[in-house]
């Protein structure tokens, strides 16, 4: 019984572990060998989806910390990715508070708003407050492809959510 609880707990930690792993490992989400402009940010999708659907599996503190790790690995000023992730989290929490039942289309549209504000903040802060120069085109491509891939991850995470949610019809 206790081992069952432990397994359930580990499965529940899935999204959080994935978020940390993607932030700290060198797994690329920039597929320049296949298509030079193809890059997307899975972390943003993970944060948005799980904060919207089951905020208890992805605490704000963890989101903040994952952002700090991502900044160190990627070489950005500390706190930049955290801020970007927290903005996604803020929009997701707001949408959760304002809506009762959501579908993929509404989630997709609200994700667009979230990612727009998040990447806009990221770009403005990086361009104006640090020596690092990033191309607005690259940021736009990244935003576009993250948005395009959202439905795929939405179905994937919805399926995972249905596995980890006990007695959902009760």
């Amino acid at each position: 019984m206790s081992s069952y609880k432990l397994i359930t707990k580990i499965i529940n930690l899935g999204p959080l572990l994935l978020l940390y792993y993607l932030s700290i490992s060198e797994i690329d989400t920039h597929f320049e060998n296949f298509f030079e402009i193809l890059s997307f940010n899975i972390q943003l999708i993970i944060i948005y989806f799980w904060v919207l659907k089951r905020p208890e599996v992805l605490g704000s503190g963890h989101i903040f910390f994952a952002g700090l790790i991502n900044d160190v690995v990627m070489g950005f000023p500390l706190g930049l990715s955290s801020l970007s992730y927290l903005i996604i989290s803020l929009v997701a929490t707001y949408v959760k508070n304002m809506t009762v039942n959501t579908r993929i289309t509404t989630d997709w549209f609200t994700f667009f708003i979230a990612i727009f504000f998040s990447n806009l903040t990221f770009f403005i802060l990086l361009s104006n407050f640090s020596d690092i120069r990033v191309s607005i085109t690259e940021v736009s491509y990244n935003t576009f492809f993250t948005l395009i891939f959202f439905p795929f991850f939405w179905f994937l995470f919805t399926y995972y959510n249905s596995i980890i949610t006990p007695n959902k019809n009760a």
Binding site: S82, L83, L90, V134
Partner: protein, 282 residues
Amino acid sequence: MSSSRDDFGIAFRSALLQRGAAQKFSLVSLIFIAIIVFILDVYGFAFMKPIRAIINDGIYRVSLVASSPSRFLPQATESVSNLFNLKKENENLKKALEDYKQKELSVEYLTNQNKNLRKILESEESFLKKENMILSKVLIDKSSPYLKSIIINRGSKSGILKGMPVMDKDYLIGRVVETNYLSSRVLLLNDLNSRIPVTFGEEGIQGILKGNGGSKPVLEYLPEGYTVEEGIDVFTSGKDGIFLPGSPIGVTTSEGDVKLFSESSQLSFVKVDLTQQNEEAF
């Protein structure tokens, strides 16, 4: 109208301040902390430098361990596919041998070209004379859509300073932009923030090699009306006093950009040149 505005206000306040069952911090407090951390790091307060260096060293090591499965998997796949492709490999080796034979024929031409370039540089310091190199392993080469950089396992402990040139075999690949005690970050030549003074061609044309975020950096500040021809080797000019003159970088293409000799995604070990500087250049 006012009711919908109230709803917006309530939902927004709730999103900012509410703490759920599993949430230990409110979003507003974390956003506030993130802004403070960002300001402290960007404006480089003295106490932040050692803190950041320690955090960097720690996280780079953890990242190396965390990335081992993702490194092992392609290696294992490659080994298996190599076993099945021995015949093809043999053909490739024969082709490579042919290429080397052809290259041997052009040695004389390259030697003359090298002599000409040295004359153009008019410098006693030569890339060929450098000795003080330090070999380092690439810890992380995460391909980011924004920054093209790698992390190496040598830092200030090994005498590495900001601005030092980094080579793959004999080819320049970038320069050190961040040093920690046990690790450093190398900005690659194809990064948007990279600018290197270069020289090329028999006439010793001077220019700036500018990273564009893609795989091939571009040449800028060339003489007016100059058209870049294909197949000309590009070298560092050393005009910035940071890079040794004559380090090979790449070859020009028909589009006017430069195909780098070293593939940035295939780096395992790199050499840091310690000879040029004694003090931090940045």
